[in-house]
Amino acid sequence: MIEISLKAEELFSIGSFPVTNSFLVAVLAFVFLALVGWRFKSGFALIPGAFQNFVEMVVEALLKLMDSVLQDRHKSERYLPLIATIFLFIMISNWMGLLPGVGSIGLREIQDGKESFVPLLRAPAADLNFTLALAIITVFAVNLFGTLTLGFRKHFGKFFTLKNPIYTFVGLLEFISELAKMISFSFRLFGNVFAGEVLLIIIGALVPYFVPLPFLALEIFVGFVQAFIFSMLTIVFIAIATAKEGH
């Protein structure tokens, strides 16, 4: 019987904090990115070697993407840390969820009298906690940037205004739409990655040889596209929130 669990399974707990298998892979992705950053910083040279060239290429591509929406290199550099973190973290954790051993190597545990299989590693975005945390951080950050750029009154005046009964109503709808953005961000990423995982498990169970190849290629593409879309939407929302003139 193929076992697919919607929730990420808990492996052990540190005090009262449950450590799940997707949390483990998220920590691995974080360590990988931190090592890349550390290596870049420590080996920084005026004439770049291959590794430094590659990292600079990625950063340049992200800056160009932000420029195309924000139209201002200064603004792009200001918001690059958040966007680059979102993009790279999501992409690396999605791709790490495709490595052999993720989802297949695990422990046989007995829970509630039933024997079940608990994988040791799982794609982080297949855990709603991960995607919801990123979504909440993103929506908070967008509103924070709006407040920092425009001032508290101007930014929240978009949502809560008494100037005009129509604007009051629209403002309330916009506020609810901010909450809807959190849900939409998290479920888009979660649904894509979890559905991809389930697809790979089912295909692997049906025809283990050669047939999973196009599906793995699809999942690599989906992993990249979902990271791109998450960051792109964040850039667009930042552009809207920090637009100086009126609407």
């Binding site: 697919i4 919607l6 939409s184 479920f187 888009r188 649904g191 559905a195 596209v225 879309i229 667009v236």
Partner: protein
């Protein structure tokens, strides 16, 4: 019909109906984007980026239906 049967049918129906409109919408987005790219090949990168962005929005709605189906099945 037993509750289990109805549950299975509901799961299948949710996903099936939830995929109608997003599929239609993505088709329309793609066709309009190709039309625009054909008329103005120079603007193709911009149109392509916008098309992928909007496709993601639409696909999210299909994903909502998928999540409901998954919750029905596994929770």
């Amino acid at each position: 019909m037993s509750p289990d049967t109805v549950k299975l049918l509901a799961i299948a129906a949710v996903m099936a109906f939830g995929a109608f409109m997003p599929a239609l919408a993505i088709g329309m987005i793609g066709s309009k984007a190709m039309e625009a790219m054909g008329r103005n090949p120079e603007a193709a990168p911009k149109i392509q980026t916008a098309m992928i962005l909007v496709t993601a929005f639409v696909e999210a709605i299909a994903i909502y239906a998928l999540v409901v189906a998954l919750i029905l099945k596994f929770v």
